[in-house]
């Protein structure tokens, strides 16, 4: 029981893994709510937190890990939020630093927790590493062994923030390959 009580004390962290979708107007919020609920996402309509200074008076609270899947689904219904962000204090920004490592015949780019490595001569993706969400092994299976210009973009087939981080690394490595 002691442990049980401690767990409930952790409820202060409940907003920790949530994000917020900001829309232009309330009718978009209502449409988005219906679409997301229909597809099984655990979301709710809330008032935007005080640090959000754009959009309408309603917003959608959503599981932040599932950002990519949610944005992709809404896009299919021609609905796009004007912004999305972690719910906690509004100061968090996506990682925007890249780490590039040259292995001679290969080049690796890391964005946040995701790495992609390409054979420079053939432009074949030889490895995808890092990450912890369950689309990472799927993305690796879909990308590894294929030419960087002939694969679906990670954002198209990924669903989570790890998938989004891989998209950033993929964009960067394509840019580097074009330059060389």
């Amino acid at each position: 029981m002691k442990f049980f009580k401690k767990l409930f004390r952790n409820n202060k962290k409940n907003s920790f893994n949530r994000g917020i979708l900001i829309f232009e107007n309330t009718s978009e919020v209502i449409r988005a709510e219906n679409i997301l609920k229909k597809h099984g996402y655990e979301i709710k309509v809330v008032g935007p937190p005080p640090h959000v200074r754009k959009g309408c008076d309603l917003a959608i609270d959503f599981p932040i890990v599932e950002t990519v899947g949610i944005l992709k689904l809404l896009k299919n219904y021609e609905l796009s939020p004007i912004d999305y962000m972690p719910l906690n204090d509004g100061n968090l920004k996506p990682v925007d630093l890249f780490h590039i490592k040259d292995f001679g015949r290969f080049i690796m780019v890391r964005a946040a927790n995701m790495k992609i490595t390409v054979h420079k001569g053939s432009l074949t993706i030889v490895n995808v590493s890092g990450g912890g969400c369950p689309d990472v092994p799927y993305l690796a299976a879909m990308l590894v062994g294929k030419n960087i210009y002939e694969v679906p973009e990670p954002n198209e087939i990924g669903h989570t923030l790890c998938g989004y981080a891989l998209q950033l690394a993929y964009d960067k490595i394509k840019e580097l390959c074009l330059q060389s």
Binding site: N17, V95, D96, N127, S129, G130, G132, D135, P137, Y138
Partner: protein
């Protein structure tokens, strides 16, 4: 016995559970066949290789198909909390699962009610969930890489993607990040931090480091983190003292990597095959 809970990257792969069997590049669980690639299959296969060396039973495995939509993970969470009540495992390793703080809470509640409390290891998505839900300290071991350590050290970040810039992965600041992860109670009793140097940490103190052999080409190879988590899980479940198991796992993983003579295009299955040879050098 060790139980491993994770996913495979196939949307239609059903909830599958049972004792794993490893044959060449495939795992067999119940009547299902799974190719050993990066992710949970790589972790399971690596654990199997250690159990082979130690002449022990293969691990028990809970798997579901999930390509990132989270539906397979949720079904597996539901199944697991019912099934675990009737089983007795010494060690539980949670791996590639959709990070979900509520499910992490529910699982820990069920585990707390078990007659015998298993040793709890988390890596990948479930480690994210443990941190997100504020439950890191209820686990016994996390196996983050240095980027994930920065995420653990950032008390605000809900996912590594949002780790704040001043904490970003920097091998020279690992000890500072370790201190910070413990300061905010976002780390369990033990950490095995995977990087250029592997750090073994007990209650916030670095108790050992492994940095040899250095194989630069291992960094881009997907699955080298999964293999080390599988190895350490098997060693702990086999009775090795935790610190020793972490040091051995780190060395075995590095030596197996070296034996594979890798370049950045090497695949993890080529390294896993060499785990027994590497283990015999260490154990």
């Amino acid at each position: 016995m060790l139980a491993i809970i994770g996913t495979v990257p196939e949307e239609d792969f059903p909830i599958t559970f049972g004792k794993a069997k490893l044959e060449n590049d495939f795992l067999f669980i119940d009547s299902k066949r799974v190719l050993v690639q990066r992710g949970t299959p790589a972790l399971v296969a690596s654990a199997c290789k250690i159990f082979e060396v130690l002449k022990k039973d293969y691990p028990y495995v809970y798997l579901a198909g999930d390509i990132g939509k989270g539906t397979g993970s949720k079904k597996l969470y539901e199944y697991f909390i019912k099934d675990i009540r009737q089983r007795e495992f010494q060690t539980l390793t949670f791996h590639y699962l959709m990070p979900d703080a509520d499910w992490c809470n529910k699982i820990l509640l069920v585990i707390e009610e078990l007659h015998k409390h298993p040793f709890l290891i988390a890596d990948a998505g479930f480690m994210y969930a443990a941190k997100m839900s504020g439950n890191a300290k209820y686990f016994n071991l996390f196996t983050p890489d240095t980027g994930e350590l920065a995420f653990l050290a950032d008390e605000e970040a809900p996912h590594p993607f949002y780790t704040r810039g001043f904490l970003l992965q920097d091998e020279s600041r690992v000890e500072e990040l370790i201190r910070r992860a413990y300061e905010y109670e976002n780390a369990p009793e033990y950490l095995l931090v995977k990087g250029k140097t592997d750090y073994i940490v007990k209650k916030g103190e670095v108790v050992d480091m492994v940095s040899e052999p250095v194989i630069e080409a291992l960094e881009p190879i997907g699955g080298t983190g999964d293999s080390i988590t599988g190895i350490v899980s098997a060693l702990i479940d086999s009775g090795y003292e935790i610190q020793t198991a972490c040091v051995f796992a780190s060395k075995i993983n590095r030596i197996a990597g070296k034996l594979a003579n890798p370049d950045p295009s090497t695949q993890i299955s080529d390294i896993i095959k060499l785990i027994p040879k590497a283990a015999l050098n260490i154990i």
